[in-house]
Structures are given as C-alpha cells and as structure tokens.
Symmetry: C5
Subunit: 250 residues, 5 copies
Amino acid sequence: MDIATLIGIISGFGLILGSILLGSSLSAFFNLPGLAIVVGGTISATLIMQKLNVVLGAVSVAMNAFLVKTEPAERLIKIMVNVATKAKKGGILALENEKVENSFLARAIRMAVDGIEPTEIAYALQIERNSLVSRHETGQSVFKFMGSTAPAMGMIGTLIGLVQMLLNMSDPSMIGPAMAIALLTTFYGAVLAFLVFNPIAEKLVDRTNSEKVNMDVIITGIEGITKGINPRILEDKLVSFLAPKARKMK
Amino acid sequence: MDIATLIGIISGFGLILGSILLGSSLSAFFNLPGLAIVVGGTISATLIMQKLNVVLGAVSVAMNAFLVKTEPAERLIKIMVNVATKAKKGGILALENEKVENSFLARAIRMAVDGIEPTEIAYALQIERNSLVSRHETGQSVFKFMGSTAPAMGMIGTLIGLVQMLLNMSDPSMIGPAMAIALLTTFYGAVLAFLVFNPIAEKLVDRTNSEKVNMDVIITGIEGITKGINPRILEDKLVSFLAPKARKMK
Amino acid sequence: MDIATLIGIISGFGLILGSILLGSSLSAFFNLPGLAIVVGGTISATLIMQKLNVVLGAVSVAMNAFLVKTEPAERLIKIMVNVATKAKKGGILALENEKVENSFLARAIRMAVDGIEPTEIAYALQIERNSLVSRHETGQSVFKFMGSTAPAMGMIGTLIGLVQMLLNMSDPSMIGPAMAIALLTTFYGAVLAFLVFNPIAEKLVDRTNSEKVNMDVIITGIEGITKGINPRILEDKLVSFLAPKARKMK
Amino acid sequence: MDIATLIGIISGFGLILGSILLGSSLSAFFNLPGLAIVVGGTISATLIMQKLNVVLGAVSVAMNAFLVKTEPAERLIKIMVNVATKAKKGGILALENEKVENSFLARAIRMAVDGIEPTEIAYALQIERNSLVSRHETGQSVFKFMGSTAPAMGMIGTLIGLVQMLLNMSDPSMIGPAMAIALLTTFYGAVLAFLVFNPIAEKLVDRTNSEKVNMDVIITGIEGITKGINPRILEDKLVSFLAPKARKMK
Amino acid sequence: MDIATLIGIISGFGLILGSILLGSSLSAFFNLPGLAIVVGGTISATLIMQKLNVVLGAVSVAMNAFLVKTEPAERLIKIMVNVATKAKKGGILALENEKVENSFLARAIRMAVDGIEPTEIAYALQIERNSLVSRHETGQSVFKFMGSTAPAMGMIGTLIGLVQMLLNMSDPSMIGPAMAIALLTTFYGAVLAFLVFNPIAEKLVDRTNSEKVNMDVIITGIEGITKGINPRILEDKLVSFLAPKARKMK
C-alpha cells in the first residue's frame, strides 16, 4: 500500500478520535442503532442500485487501487523499447517467446506475432481500453453513490431522533442528550462520506487515468513495432506521454 | 429479481422501521397529509414535466431493470461465434432460419441475410443503439427529477407546518409535537429520494451501460460475419469487451 | 394540452392548498410584499441576464411545449415512406406539388426538387437542426436560471424578515408571527422553483429530444430519397429510430 | 443598453429596498464592515484566482455585453449575400475595397482577396472563433467564481458575528441585534450573487452563443463566396442558422 | 508573483482579521484542536485519495502557477515568426543551433531538424500537449477535492463540539462559549476552501488554458515551418489565437 494512504487513514481517524477525547469519552460518540442506520442504509441503497457482483467487484477494484501499484509509465516505455529492439533485429516472430508481465502488452504482442493486421490490433486494443475505462467508471459510480447516500442516511437518522425528541419534551433535561444522539448519525454520515467513500472514488478516478496512459503507451508502441519503427525514434515518441521531469530523470 | 436488490429493499426499510420502533411507535411517524404532499407533489411535478406515456414508460423500464436480467456479454459472444461458424461453413444464407432470442441480433442477422450492405447494416444498428440509449436517458431523467423533487416537496411540507406552528404559539406544550409533524415531510422526502428514486435512476444508468456493451458486441460481430471473418479471430476480437477475469473464466 | 400536465398542475397546487387549509386559513399564507420580492426578484434577475425578446421567446416556446404536441415519429416515418414511394415512381420532380405539414420536411423536399446536391441538403438541414437545438437550450437555460433564482430570492426575503424581527424583539409574542411571515418567501421560492420553473425546464429538454429525433428521421429519409432508395428498405432503416414496441404496433 | 436590463436592475434592487423599507429603516440593513468583508473578500479571492488583466478584461467584456448589442444574424446574412453578389459579378478581387463593419468578416474578406486557399481561410477563422469562445469562457468563469464565492464570504461574515455574539451573551437584550447584524453579510452575499454575478455570468454565456452563430454564418458564407456560390443559394443555406420565425420576417 | 495575487491574499485575510478585531480579540478565533481537525483532516483525506508524489506534485504545480509567469502568446508568435524566417532563408537545417527557452518548442525544432515527418511531429506534440493537460487536471482535482473536503471537515468538527455541548448542558452559562468554539471549525473550513483551495484550483484551470494556447501556437507554427510556409502568412495565421486587441497592440 502507498505509505501516504496509510498515513492518511491513521491521521484522519486519529484526529477525529483525538478531537472527541479532548472533550468527552469515546463512548459518548458510539451509538449502535445510529451506526446501523447510516452504514446499513448506505449499503442497502447500493444493493438496490447495483447487482451484487458489481458491488463486490467495485470493492475489489478499490482494494486493488490501494494495494497494487500501477506500473510506472517510465518502466513500461523501457520495456516497449526493448521489445522494439528485438523485433527490429529478429523480426516480429522473434517476439514469440517474449515474456511480459503486463497482460495487455502480452495480448498486443501475441496478436502481432499471429500476424493480425495492425489496424485490427489497434481496434481490438482500443475496445479493451474503453471497456476497462467503463468498468472502472462503474466502480467509481458505486463509491460516488455511497458518498452522496451516506450523509443522506445520516440526515434521515437525525430526523428520526429529532421527531422522537420533539414528541417527548416533558422532561427538559433530556432534550440535550436526545439531540446529541440524534446528531450522531449526521456525524457518522459525514465521516463515512468524506474520509472513506469520496477519497476511494477519487482514488479510482486517478487509477483509471494511470491505466489509460499505460494502455496508450502500449497501443502507440505496438503500432510502431508492427511497422518496424526504429527503437530510438519510438522512444522519442513514447516519452511524450511523460512529464518533462520524468523524461529527464530517465 | 436480483437477490441483492431484494435484500437491499428489505434491509433499507427494515433499518429505518427498526430505528423508529426503538424510540417510539410507528404511528408517530405516520402522517397522511404529509405523505400526500410529498408523494403527490412529486408525482404532480413529474406529470407537469413529462407526457403521461413517458412517465408510465419510465416506470415499466425501471420494473424491467429490476425484474429482467440483461444477457451476460459472455453468453452473447458465444452466440456470435456460433453464428459466425455457421456463416463461415454455409455462407450468410445459412443463417436464414437461425433462431436467436436477442431481438437486436435477430434484426442484424435478418439484414445480413437480406443482402443489405455491411455499412448500411452498421448504420441502422447504430441508430437503433443510440435511440435506445436516448430512450433510457429519458427514463433516468424522470427518476432523477423525482429524486431531486421529493426532498423539495418535503421541505415545502415542513415550511407549511412551521408557519402554522409559529402562528399558534400560545400553548407552548404544543410546539414540540407540531414541529415533529412538520419535520415528517422532510423525512418522507429524504427516504423517498435516497432509498427509492435515486437508486432506481442509478440502476437505469447501469442497465443502459450493459445494453450498450451487448449492442456493441453485436454490431462488431455482425460486421465481421458479413465479411466472412474467421470465427476464432472474431472471438479474439469480441472478448476485448469483457473484463480480463470474465475472459479467463470462459 | 397533454391531459397529464393539467392533472399535474391541478393536483400539485391542490395538494399544497389542501395541506394549508388543514391547519390554517389560506390568508395566513398570503403575503403580498413577500410574493412581490420572490416573483419580481426572479423576473428582474432574468431580465438582467437575458434580452427581453429572448425571455418572451422562452415563454412562448414553453407555452408551445405544453399546448402543441410534437408529431409522433411513427407518423413522420409513414409520411417519409409515402414521399419515397412517390419519388421512386415519378422521380424527384414528382414531389414538386407535395404538400406536407412539417415545415422542416417541406424545406428538405423543396431543396431536393430544386436539384441541390444531397450533401448540401444534408449540410443545410444539419445547420437548421443544430440551430433549433441551441435555441431550445437558450429557452431551457432561462427556466433553469429562474428555477435556481427563485429559492434564492425566497431566502433573501426570509433574511430581510429575520433581521427585522431580530431588531424588534421587545414583544416576545410577536416573534412567532414575524418569523412565520419571514418564512413565507422561502415557501414561495420553493413552490415556484419545484412546481413551475423546474418542470418547465425539464419539459423543454424532453421536447428538444423529440424534435431532434424527428429531424434525424427527416434528414436520414431525404438522403435516401434523393438517392432513390427502395421505400421498403427506407422504412426498415427509419424504424431504427423507434422503440421496438412502437415498431410492432405499427 | 437593452432596456430590459435596465428595468431588471431597477426593479430587482427596488423590490429589495421596498421590502426593507416596509418593516424598518434602510440604515438597519447597512453595515460597513459586513459589506467590506463580502465585497472585498469576493474581490480578493478573485484576484488570487486570476491575473489582474484577466479580471479587468472580464469586467470590460461584461460591460460590453450589456452596452453593445451584437449584430443580429439576420442583418449579417444580408451583408453576406451582398458580398456574394459583388463577388459573383466582379470576381473575388472586386471585394478589395469592400468596407464592412464586422472585423471578423473584414478579415475573412481580406484573406479571400489575398488569394489564400479556402481551407486555410476556414482553418484560420475556426481558430479565431475557438479563441474567442475560450476567452469568453474565461470571462464567464470569473463571474461564476464570484457568484459562488460571494455567498461563502457572506457565511464567513455571519460565522464571525455569531461566534462573537455567543461569546458575549451576558446581556440577553443584545442577542437579537447582534444576530441581526451577523445575518446581514449572508444577505449581502445572496443579493450580490443572485442579482449581480450570476446574471452577468449567464449574460456572457448568451453573448458567446450569439457571437458563435455570427461567426459560423461568416465562415459558412465566405467558404461559399470563395467557391463562387450563387448568392440566392447562399442565402438559402445561411437562413438555416435563423429561427423559422426570423426567416419569415425577412 | 502576479502583484494582484499578493494583493488578493493580503486583502482577503486582512479583511477577515479586521472583521474579527472589530468585535473581539484574535485569540477568541484561535482554537488549536479545531485547526488540527480541519487542516489535518483535509490533508489526511487527500493522502488517502492520492499518491504522495502526486499531492506534492500538485503543490509544486500550484506554486509554479503563482510564481512563474507563462510566456505571453504574443511573444511566442514573434519567436515562431523569427524561426520561420530563418528556416525560409537557410532551410530547416539552419535551425540546428537555434536556442529557444521554451522546451516544447525546442523539442519541436529538434524533431524537425532530425527530419522526422511533419505528421509524426504533430502526433508526438499532440500527445505531449494532452499529457500536460491531463497532468494539470490531476493537480486541479487535488485542490478541488481539498476545497470540497475542508468545509466537510469543518462540519465534522462542529458536530463533535455540538454533541459534547449538548451532553453537558447543566451550566447554561457555558452553552454560548461552547457553541462559539464548535462553530470555529466551520469558519476555518469555509476560509480555507474559499480563500485558499478554490482560488488555487481555478488558477490551475486558467494556467492550463494559457499553456494549451501556447502549445497550439507551437504545433500550428512548426507544421507551417516544416512545410516552408511564408513567415508573413504564418504570422497572419498565428495571430488568430490572440484576442483582436492583443493583435493590434503588436
């Protein structure tokens, strides 16, 4: 996992816990029915909105985004240049036993070796790229939906608490604590949305962008390779995908 | 119906009912005029905004989305490969008596058998695909509209109750219950929006995406078939639409 | 007018009036200065934002959208097929005295009869289609603007009332009624936005979509006609614009 | 200035002033520090966000939008047809001394006279059109930013006032007036956003659309003129940009 | 740094400080735990959402946007015309030792000198342009995220304070000060969002637009240069990217 993510999670929840402990006990902020209505209600609405396997898929995509690093484009460009060099020397068929880790690149090479026409290869790879993007967007939409539903569930919980408090105002000394409990669901909804669901949704957007760049590098690269491009010229072309800084550090 | 949807509906409403019953009777949260203004007001605004048949169409599209499963793209690809194999062996005309369940595919095959030019077939299928997408978007817009109107109707109901309460503050003991009732419409609006209308709208977005993929598989497939593509190469091309996982499980 | 629209307007305002009458007199919710600031303020802001003739144009477009039905695409397709049949039999010039109600189609036919090249016809019709869409979008933007300005004017009115109430709190018995009056402008703003301006804006979006489909049917149809397409094949092509259901009912 | 704009400004501010005077003196709504924080804070945030010359440019673009009328497309079409007629009679070079007010058209004619190729002319004019659109969008973004920042500055002012009031609650009779003053900044922010910044931003959107249509008329027209199109056919083509009503009135 | 930015920062914070000092001491608005939860919570959420190097990259891009001026397009056009003049006289190879500050232009010239085909050069430059835009968009999204998270963190802090206050209402004289402190986090969140994060995000949008124009000038220019375009005609073409005013001042 990216060390920053871990720091973010620990410090985010740590600050909230610390802030609570400064003024009261933690138990004052724990309310099981409130947690149930916010967490459970958000999950329920999500299950209504999406097929179970898509929701589980979104969770696994999110875990992936946090636990597995994307290949840096810099490294991928080096690999492409190596592949191009081999192809330049031994022809496309020299790539037959090329072992590459990246499954998208492996597929591109296999198609090139099979003698499929360059435009057909580009077409198939483009479809795969767009499918990946739209699958990722589905994952993002699940977490964005949760990020907007959680505060609403918090508000629903608070409204229930407020109505019940207003109906039982005979004992004024109970108004404060009752309202405190009513507000807890709003608090849960905000914490869930802004420290959990929204950052995950944004993380997936970012991850999609990284993978799009990598796939574009591969699509551009394999097109050059099938045309027998000079590896040095290919490198020159592919570094256009990098920030000027990343190019210089190469 | 997707089992998850059922679980979502039951658990979502169950949590809210449970949360209410923990602190009061259910009847305290039932207010007929309040329900009438939120449900009725939302439906009224929707009828102003859209033709009756479109609203009913949106409801039937939504029911469809929950009750009828879309064909998995994996299965559709198998069917396309079968069709391609037959066409490869016996020529396009061998498809004349081909029975396929999917009406979009059936139309595509019929046009191919009729000898209509590939570009014309693709054009007609594209129009049909785009028409379907825009009809679905109309359905989504109906439910999105309801999802944003319901909380507003809840607020309107609460404002009516608050104004009436403020005009009759002679008996302070009545302020609490009057305000409780006023808040109920806000509660109704939020529950309707976040547990009913918004999840339905999102479900339709998702359904549209699935059908778009299926139609793209068919359009790409029939194009290959009319050109006499090798079935194995067609399969290779069509699996680009699937997630890598779904491909391996094949 | 669509009967549903009428039902929507009557039931929407009826529910609000009924809800008011259940708890107080109607006169308690009538406040002339409040109405003036919300309605007048919204209109004022709209006049600042747009030229007078555009605002009046938007109002007339909206009236049109409610009072005049768009031609159903089904009927238009039948007309196109008839026109194609005549052109097939007697040549394009046989359309010289063709009387059609739809002015866009009439223009398309006139250009075809005048011998203007198909690509030029398509170009001119596309421009007209896009101009119509962008004029409709201007109309929508006027009502969307009013839909977001009305609640703001309501809030401004409430703020004025609140400030005045807070400055004169010497007589506590006046606080309730003063606040009730202050809240009325928020109430007016919400009713105007959610039962009037927003539904109209959405209605215009929907109307634009219907007209776009009709124009696409005509553009596709006239292109086929100038090329002497077989009327049955043209019909096959044009029904792609319809929902499968609407096709079967033909 | 469009007379409607003037009416809008006068009636908008008039209604607010009238509404204030009905219940209190004007001076009760005047608070210099409050005005300073809302107006000054909004301007400060805008200066942080944009270069000074862009902000001043946006102000001058906005003044232009209110004070200078755009040429009606109807008139521009007449001019284009006149130019086409001259070019048809005397050749492109006959346009050498053509005086036209519209600088975009003047440039188009000059390029045509200079013998630059039609595709190059179209390319240069397209660039100019897109540059204008993106400069206008920058202007809009400045006012949209101010429209969303002003209410936020109003809220910041109110929060400052509320905190100070809460810290000094020893004299209950001061709570009302202190809170009234705190609310004034929220009031200022809402008036500024909804009667000043947002209408200006929308006005600029509308102005951009008008200029886009005019430029499209010129680009389409000059293309025809360089090809020696028949002026009557050109007119037929260009009226596609007008609403059917505006065409008939011609 | 743009002098306006400096004025904006000083006057923005100055107005808020002044507004505070008018009614209380500054220390009344300083609350360390509150600041920690808003600033720390926003940074934590950002670290969860993005890789550390991207966050640091966004900060450095933002610093750049404030401290380094973009080259004015006017000056860039002059440089392009000079380069074109040299190339016209001495051929493309005369550019071999051309020293230009702008690294994008330098790369374009180097590729032209290396004899890479014009379409390939345009392709590589387009990729670089799009990569820059998408990297900038990542930077913007980081600050937009912070701009929407900061007020949420403020609300979370306020909710914690409110709940604690409501649980300890035995001493009524403490309610005011406790609520004042609770509101401080909302205040911090609003100031951070509207005077810091949002203006930075908008600044980056603006910066991206400037750089896009510059890159388009270079791409269009180098294309002409490789084709041996007349420098005067090139200038005529490139000034299309400028506002009419900026052209005249040249």
